[in-house]
């Protein structure tokens, strides 16, 4: 792709930084999950080690690292050890392609160089992220088949059937948003969502000053479908059938312990972060502040500091969605498997198709592309 050595080096450094960001968020999320679940279920949760139980995570990390390493004798060694690694990589790669903040410019050797706040920039970002994150299913399949355990295998079978079913609804639910913004690029999509809500209706421009120009106002149905499908894709409750502990012990990761188990956790939270970041970028304006973005830029002045502030805005939005993921997990009961399949194929897929056709018809009839008009 015609990249110079320096460019490759910068991208690699950024990739490592974003991977570390992802990994470092996991302990905090685990803490939030434990304390949050305790709060929801009227318990205390871990509160003994350190203030608010925060250093419980350190104790856990030590435990994970020093647990005895073992492998079930009937497992397939390559698949068994590859599965936890495969669980992490797709999430990290997909997260690297999402812009986490505004691009900033720095002076390097007398030249102004623009840096993107993401590990690599792709014009077809959305297709790439969806494609890469769909590879996460292989972690579950590797683990299920490689463990040589029937519960694991059942978990892997459920995982693969579930992934295929919900990938259709997931893909179709964002076709509406693609039609409205007419781009595959995250940057263009975020640019289109800046400013107040405005669109063309019957040839007349309509501006709503008190609402931001966010995708959710154009695609409410698409948002609901995408949100529900991401729960299934990340294997979170109420769609965590692959690890249903009441039926399958622990599903695909029955035979894993210690650090390998932790890597599955990181993978799951990584996929949650990718899903939240996608939700924010598609429907909630990405890293952009709904109002006063320009004012902040002028008040700060420095391009790099502005990027950092916008990154905090983005992470705030992402953390909000991560909290909703946790909230839902401890609120809703798990689906039965036939209910899961019915919901995917008979409810979400037809609605997603309807959303696609209706959006296409409206875009063509009223010529009302949001944001771009």
């Amino acid at each position: 792709m015609g990249a110079s050595g320096l460019e490759i080096l910068i991208n690699v450094v950024k990739m490592v930084a974003i991977f570390l960001l992802m990994v470092q968020l996991v302990p905090i999320l685990v803490w939030v999950e434990r304390r949050g679940s305790a709060f929801i279920q009227n318990r205390f949760g871990p509160n003994r080690v350190g203030p608010l139980g925060l250093t419980q995570l350190l104790a856990d990390a030590v435990k994970f690292l020093f647990k005895e390493e073992f492998r079930p004798p009937k497992s397939i060694a390559f698949l068994y050890y590859a599965a936890p690694v495969v669980a992490i990589i797709p999430g990290a790669l997909a997260f690297g392609a999402i812009p986490l903040s505004a691009p900033f410019t720095l002076e390097l050797g007398g030249e102004l160089v623009q840096f993107n706040f993401q590990s690599f920039h792709l014009g077809i970002g959305i297709v790439f992220v969806l494609g890469i994150s769909s590879l996460g299913a292989y972690a579950l399949l590797f683990a299920g088949w490689g463990s040589g355990n029937k519960y694991s295998l059942m978990g892997a079978l459920r995982a693969s059937a579930q992934m295929i079913s919900y990938e259709l609804a997931l893909g179709l639910s964002i076709v509406g948003i693609l039609l409205i913004y007419g781009t595959f690029s995250f940057d263009e999509m975020i640019t289109a969502q800046q400013g107040p809500l405005r669109f063309m209706l019957m040839g007349k421009p309509i501006v709503v000053d008190f609402l931001p120009n966010w995708g959710i106002f154009y695609q409410p149905l698409g948002f609901i479908l995408f949100f529900a499908a991401t729960f299934a894709e990340t294997n979170r409750a109420p769609f965590d059938l692959p690890e249903a502990e009441a039926e399958l012990v622990a599903g695909y990761h029955t035979e894993y312990g210690g650090l390998k188990m932790l890597m599955f956790y990181i993978g799951e939270y990584g996929h949650m972060m990718v899903a939240s970041a996608l939700l924010v970028t598609f429907f909630f304006g990405g890293w952009d502040l709904p109002f006063g973005s320009e004012g902040v830029r002028e008040a700060i002045g420095s391009s790099f500091l502005y990027s950092l502030v916008m990154h905090l805005v983005f992470m705030g939005k992402v953390l909000l969605f991560l909290w909703i993921f946790i909230w839902v997990r401890w609120t809703l009961p798990r689906f039965r498997y036939d209910q899961l399949m019915d919901l995917g194929w008979k409810t979400m897929l037809p609605w997603a198709l309807f959303n696609t056709v209706a959006t296409a018809a409206i875009v063509v009839l009223f010529n009302s592309q949001g944001g771009l008009s």
Binding site: L79, G123, F128, G131, S134, L141, S160, A161, I164, E167
Partner: protein
Amino acid sequence: MTEVFIFYIFAALTVFAGLGVLLHPNPIMCALHLVAAMIGIAGLFFNLNAPFIAAVQIMVYAGAVMVLFLFVIMIFDLKEEGRGIFSYGALSNFLKILFAGLFSGLLLSSILFKISRFGYLIPDKTAPQFEVRNLAKVMFTDYVFAFEVLGLLLLVIPIGTVALSRIRGGTHAQ
């Protein structure tokens, strides 16, 4: 220079994974090798400045089709399938070699034809940056008939599958 380096990495991955598909005795491992081959091909597409095709290759083949393959292979009773009529015997081997030979010949002749007409297939540095817009324009104007026919063909497959499974009594057959 980087392109050549990346090409050899992905080419090696694709070739070794392809050999694994053919030579590994376990069908699950064959399917997993095929996934690796798909990812290798996607990497080659990326290297040829065709990121859209690369991403679609990963999303459709590695992400959806191969997951379905693995699902089906895991459900099958593989020992039973191995006793099927086309799994052993001189006739079966003859047919396998015949069709593999025909297919390789077809592939080789088309590649040789391309090279003889257009020269070696190297990425064109002067070509404009790839855009999905241009791809869509070509696909939905010049080739819209072929595109629709392909869609119809794909529609026939699920209808046929449902019809066949219903003849045998559906999911509740004994």
